[in-house]
């Protein structure tokens, strides 16, 4: 019997617009407010950090895929997102060598050696930042203060170009910026920590575009607020200080390393909130967001296994 062609084509015949690179493009767009503010505060020179980070991530991915005879997918913008997120966690004028090293750790070691996009069990940018932070603690804390920033921070820097971040002031029990200054004011720290408002704007864009679900981030922020309140401080400070916002929105929601179900996201949000506040309160590390997220990333497959839906009809067993 002659093979009938009509059986070969499979339904459905229409598709949602969002493919992988469109999702990645949305993440890049969501990061634009942060990029714009960085340029405003530090001048166009800071674009070098972004360019080196994004460029080296994309090039490293393309070169690796080419050498390994894999399909070259470096253009799907996922490497660009990783690059931009690494840059957002660096001080303003990080040495290009440092940036390239970060890109290498993220793209080659964490992403490609584990099988490429979708296969990495931890967030590549996260590992890059942690490794750089441990290996080059001085360079990774080369904050730059200028007078565009919130007055309390400028005073604390006392004329010097470098100065403590709001979180470091908190550890030193020094005078802190007000909640409003923490929310809309500009603060020193990594490029992504400049302005809380810019990060939140990006998060709202991602939720509106349905790239991320708001569950994980909101539960995480609520947990942080509740714990800070119990700790006896204004609940908003810990949300706006350090990397809480940037990690909570842009890094904890990385789809490869976050749980997939709403229930799973809820658990991850709670867990992340508790762990990060624990690290902030008791560890030597000032921020603690990165280490806490590393734990959550590693636990994600377990959370997923616990929260997988059961097939309708209820007879199926959860198998993972």
């Amino acid at each position: 019997m002659k093979e009938n062609k009509s059986l070969i084509s499979e339904s459905p015949f229409i598709y949602a617009a969002a493919d992988t690179s469109l999702i990645m493009r949305d993440v890049l767009i969501a990061l634009l407010p942060c990029v714009a503010l960085a340029v405003y505060v530090y001048g166009p020179g800071v674009l070098l950090t972004f360019a080196v980070s994004v460029g080296s991530c994309v090039i490293l991915e393309a070169v690796y895929q080419k050498l390994m005879n894999k399909p070259v997918r470096a253009g799907d913008l996922s490497a660009a997102v990783t690059g931009l997120i690494i840059a957002m966690n660096l001080p303003p004028f990080a040495s290009p060598l440092l940036v390239v090293l970060g890109a290498f750790i993220a793209i080659i070691i964490v992403k490609q050696l584990f099988g490429g996009i979708g296969r990495n069990f931890v967030n590549p940018a996260l590992v890059a930042i942690i490794v750089l932070g441990m290996s080059f603690p001085q360079e990774m804390k080369a904050w730059v203060v200028n007078d565009k920033m919130t007055p309390v921070i400028v005073e604390a820097a006392a004329g010097a170009t470098t100065g403590p971040t709001a979180l470091e002031l908190f550890k030193l029990n020094a005078a802190l910026p007000s909640d409003l200054q923490m929310f809309i004011g500009l603060k020193n720290g990594t490029l992504g920590q400049l302005c809380s408002l810019a990060v939140i704007a990006g998060g709202i864009y991602l939720v509106a575009r349905r790239v991320i679900s708001p569950v994980l981030s909101s539960i995480f922020f609520l947990t942080v607020a509740a714990l800070t309140l119990m700790w006896g401080y204004s609940p908003l400070f810990q949300i706006f200080a350090g990397g809480t916002l940037f990690f909570g929105i842009f890094m904890a929601n990385d789809c490869v390393t976050a749980p997939v179900t709403a229930k799973g996201k809820l658990i991850a949000g709670l867990l992340y909130g508790f762990l990060s506040m624990f690290f902030r309160a008791y560890s030597l590390n000032v921020d603690g967001m990165g280490y806490a997220l590393l734990f959550v990333n590693i636990l994600t497959p377990r959370i997923d296994a616990l929260t997988m839906p059961k097939p309708a009809g209820g007879k199926g067993r959860r198998i993972l």
Binding site: S9, S11, Y15, D76, A312
Partner: protein, 444 residues
């Protein structure tokens, strides 16, 4: 326990309903009809006419040779020009009776309203009518009704949800033939001993809902219910859950949970047969898509070729040949290679598009976004099933519930990696289902 009592998953589609204002008009009778012997998900009928015979409208031309086949009737009067094998939209090829129509449409003597005095006679009449499920499943209606006499069935669900985009034929039919829907429902309830009926319509069909509520005022046995405009909320399993709260576990049919689900067009056509005796010889179909000049709802004689449908709708838009011809819808339908294929009883849409949307899509690696499992109205985890199937691990696929997949396509639609999840899962699910049925039969 589930967080929500009813499933809240599924996807929101843009839901283009360009033909919603087009009432059903009959198509001009084509010169030639190619009536297939296989008219749905059933076995083929056997021709009982030969080349050169003169046949009348409604005359039996193919008899049901097995319990799972349905009789086929001529949809026009004319001469049998040929009986030959032609490719079928259902795959493979199939005997087609080619009829040269004479335009007189003289009705066969056998066409007279059936006399029914008992449930068995009702089932016999349903079989004689040549009815198959018209919602897209195409299962012989008599075979679907038969279990209702053996087990207690208390709810008749009439499915007018029509969640498949582009289709408007069900809502237009309900507006035009609301009385027939109710009368048909009453007949089914009477003969199959079903206490209540629920007419399910989509929430967006406000006019239809009003019409039925008005008509059924004070009637306790038939109700009308709105279902969310979420795809695929018109599927059997979900409607049963929404109407009765009962769960259909793998391996069971709706009758096992006391339900019978019928498409509105099936009910209308059945009622038409009970009233006039004219078997199922024409089909209401939505014609739409970017590559057709006029989208409309048509009553099409079974056996009309797609090319005739296209010509009646003003031909291809811009004079260009359609690149993609779909039958039954963009989500669950099928593609046919050209316009020579005839319409069969189970078709409910013919869609013409100026490009093949799937052509430029390449599969990329899964990014674990979870969209597929959030889209699955049956709470499956498509990506896990597809991964299990990739390593030929049928046991895991079975444990993850592959066999309840109804190929609604939501997971493939949302997948940003463009994986063809639904078709792979559905195919494996059908294999598991058949094995189960095979094992059950052996036990018996």
């Amino acid at each position: 326990m589930a967080l929500f009592p009813i499933p809240t998953k599924g996807i929101r589609l843009k839901g283009e309903r360009n033909t919603a204002a087009q009432s059903i008009v009959p198509i001009a009778l084509p010169r030639e009809l190619h009536i297939a012997m296989r008219q749905g998900n059933c076995e083929a009928a056997l021709p009982v006419v030969s080349t050169g015979d003169y046949v009348k409208l409604g005359q039996l031309i193919g008899r049901n040779a097995s319990p799972l086949s349905v009789p086929v009737h001529s949809s026009a009067s004319g001469r049998v020009a040929a009986i030959k094998r032609e490719p079928s939209q259902l795959g493979g090829d199939d005997l087609h009776i080619v009829i040269e129509t004479d335009g007189r449409q003289s009705i066969a003597d056998s066409v007279r309203p059936p006399r029914i005095n008992s449930p068995t006679e009702f089932l016999a009449a349903v079989l004689v009518s040549g009815m198959v499920g018209l919602g897209g499943a195409g299962f012989p209606m008599a075979a679907k009704f038969a279990p209702c006499l053996k087990v207690e069935v208390d709810t008749l669900i009439i499915n007018g949800v029509e969640c498949e985009p582009f289709l408007t034929v069900d809502r237009v039919t309900m507006l035009a033939h609301a009385g027939d829907v109710v009368a048909g429902a009453r007949a089914i309830m009477q003969w199959l001993g079903i206490r209540r009926a629920v007419i399910c319509v989509a929430r967006s069909m406000k006019k239809v809902h009003e019409l039925f509520s008005e008509m059924l005022k004070g009637d306790e046995s038939i109700k009308v219910k709105s279902i969310s405009d979420i795809y695929p909320y018109g599927s059997e399993r979900i409607l049963i859950k929404q109407v009765t709260g009962r769960k259909l576990i793998p391996g069971r049919i709706p009758a096992d949970v006391g339900c019978l689900v019928c498409n509105v067009n099936s009910v209308v056509k059945l009622q038409h047969y009970l009233a006039t005796g004219l078997p199922l010889v024409s089909k209401n179909v939505t014609v739409d898509g970017s590559a057709v000049s006029y989208g409309r709802n048509l009553e099409i004689p079974v056996g009309t070729r797609i090319s005739d449908v296209l010509a009646f709708c003003g031909g291809a838009a811009d004079g260009k040949e359609p690149e993609m011809i779909l039958l039954d819808g963009v989500m669950m339908g099928k593609k046919v290679p050209d316009a020579s294929y005839p319409i069969i009883k189970m078709n409910n849409a013919v869609l013409f598009f100026d490009r093949d949307f799937a052509e430029s899509l390449g599969e990329t690696p899964c990014i674990n976004c979870g969209r597929c499992l959030r889209s699955c109205s049956l709470s499956l985890v498509p990506v896990k099933i597809a991964d299990a199937l990739k390593r030929s691990d049928m046991r895991t696929a079975k444990a993850l519930g592959a066999e309840i997949c109804n190929n609604c396509g939501a997971c493939s639609y949302v997948c940003p990696a463009r994986r063809r999840l639904s078709s792979v899962i559905y195919e494996a699910g059908q294999r598991i289902k058949n094995e189960r049925t095979g094992a059950d039969n052996e036990r018996k």
